[in-house]
Subunit: 129 residues, 4 copies
C-alpha cells in the first residue's frame, strides 16, 4: 500500500518505528474514543460493540488486524433501569497488528493486576527480509 | 419499571419533564461519546456502528426506542490508506423515544441547513391518560 | 436571548421542559466527552480541567451556570511514570443551571453510594411569574 | 525515570521505538478524547482548553513536552445562543516530545491541506550517545 503521507514523516524513520507508531495510535484511539460507552453483560450488546470498534479501527492506515474483547467481569452495576455500566479501560483486551513496509508491530492493551493499570504495550516487532 | 433513583429527583418534576430529561441525555451521549470515531462509506462499517450505538443507548434508563443513521454524504476523506474520516455531528440522524411513567418524549438530532448546525430538539411530548 | 431553533421544537413544549432538556444535555456532554481524560491528584491539573470543562459547557445554549468538581479520592493509580489515572463518572460532581424563557432547571450529577452509580438528576425547576 | 512496565514490553524494542510508541499515544489521546468538545473563538475559552489538554497529556508516561494550539479559523458556527462549535481534528495543531531512555521522539498533528486530512506524524527521532 502506497503512503501519500510519507513526505511528512521524518525521513530517517525505520519501517519498524512507523509500524509501532501506527499500532500505538490504534490503542489510544480505542481507549479514548470508547471509554464511557454504556455497556451491559449482555453478549449481544458486547459483541456488537466489539465488532463496531474492530471495523472502525481497521479503517485507520496500516492496520492489518484488530481484535477487541470487552470483559465486564469487574464491572459494578446498579439495579433495575440502572443495571448497566460504562466501558472502562480495565475491561478492554485489545490486540492490534500494524504493518508498514517490511515491518509488523504487534501491540496490545490489557489490565495488568501487578501494575493496577490497563497497559498499552508492544508485544513484538518483526521485519521481513 | 420502578425507579430507584426517584428519591434523588425534584419531587415536583412531572413525568413529561423526566421523559424529556432522559431523552436529552441519550442525544448528548451519542454526540459526545461517538463523534471522532473512524468511519467510511462502507455500508458494513456504518451499519455495525449504528447498531452498536443503538444497543448501547437502549441500556440507559427509560429509553424505549433508539434509531441512529449515519449519513456520510458530506464527508471529505483522504486517499489510499487515508480514505476514511471521523464521525461528525453533521452526519448523525438520531431519533429517541424516552418513556417515564405516563409520558413519552420524542427527541431527535439532525443537521439543520438553515441553522448550519446539528440540532438536538424535542419533536413531541405525549401523556397517556 | 432569542432562540433561532425554536421553530424546530414541539410547539407544546413548556419553558420548564425546555430548560430541563438543556440541563440534561450539559450533564451528558460532560460525562461522555471527558470521562477517560488523564488526571492526577495535582490541584493544578484538576483545577485546569474543571475550568476548561465549565467554560466549554457554558458555550452551549441556555446554560446559565456550570460548576464542575473533580474528586479523585476513589482513584486507584499506578507507580512512577504511571502515577496518574483516567477521569471516571464516579469522580465528577457537577451542578448546572439552564434557563429558558421564564424557567430555570437546576440539574446535577454525582456519585450516589446507595445506588453505586453516578446519577444525573434534576434538583429543582423554577418558573418566574 | 524507571519503568515498571518494561517487563511487559518486547525485549527487542529499541529506545527509539518506545519513544515513538509513547508519542503516538499522546496524539491519538488528544484527538479521540477531545474532538467534539464545545469551543468558541473566545481566546479565554481556547487558552483554557489548550492548557487543560497539555497538562493532562503530560501526565502520561514519558511525555517531556506537549504543545496544543486550537485554531478555529475553519469553524462554521451558528447564531445567537448557537454561536459556538465543536472541536474538530482540523483545528488541532499539536507537538509532543516523548523521551525514553536515550531517545526522543518529536511527533506532531496538524491539518495538511494537500492531504485534506489532520495528519499524525513523526517529525524527528534523536538518540543521545
Amino acid at each position: 500500500m502506497e503512503d501519500p503521507a510519507k513526505p511528512y514523516f521524518y525521513q530517517g524513520l525505520t519501517d519498524r518505528e512507523r509500524a509501532v507508531f501506527e499500532g500505538a495510535i490504534a490503542l489510544a484511539t480505542i481507549y479514548h474514543q470508547f471509554v464511557g460507552t454504556p455497556v451491559s453483560r449482555s453478549r449481544k450488546v458486547i459483541r456488537s460493540l466489539e465488532r463496531a470498534i474492530e471495523r472502525s479501527i481497521l479503517l485507520q492506515p496500516f492496520k492489518e488486524k484488530v481484535e477487541v474483547k470487552i470483559d465486564p467481569k469487574r464491572a459494578r452495576s446498579g439495579k433495575g433501569p440502572y443495571a448497566y455500566f460504562s466501558l472502562t479501560g480495565e475491561m478492554l483486551e485489545v490486540k492490534v497488528v500494524a504493518k508498514y513496509g517490511k515491518a509488523r508491530a504487534y501491540v496490545a492493551m490489557r489490565f495488568i493486576p501487578d501494575l493496577g493499570y490497563p497497559l498499552m504495550y508492544v508485544e513484538k516487532v518483526e521485519e521481513n527480509e
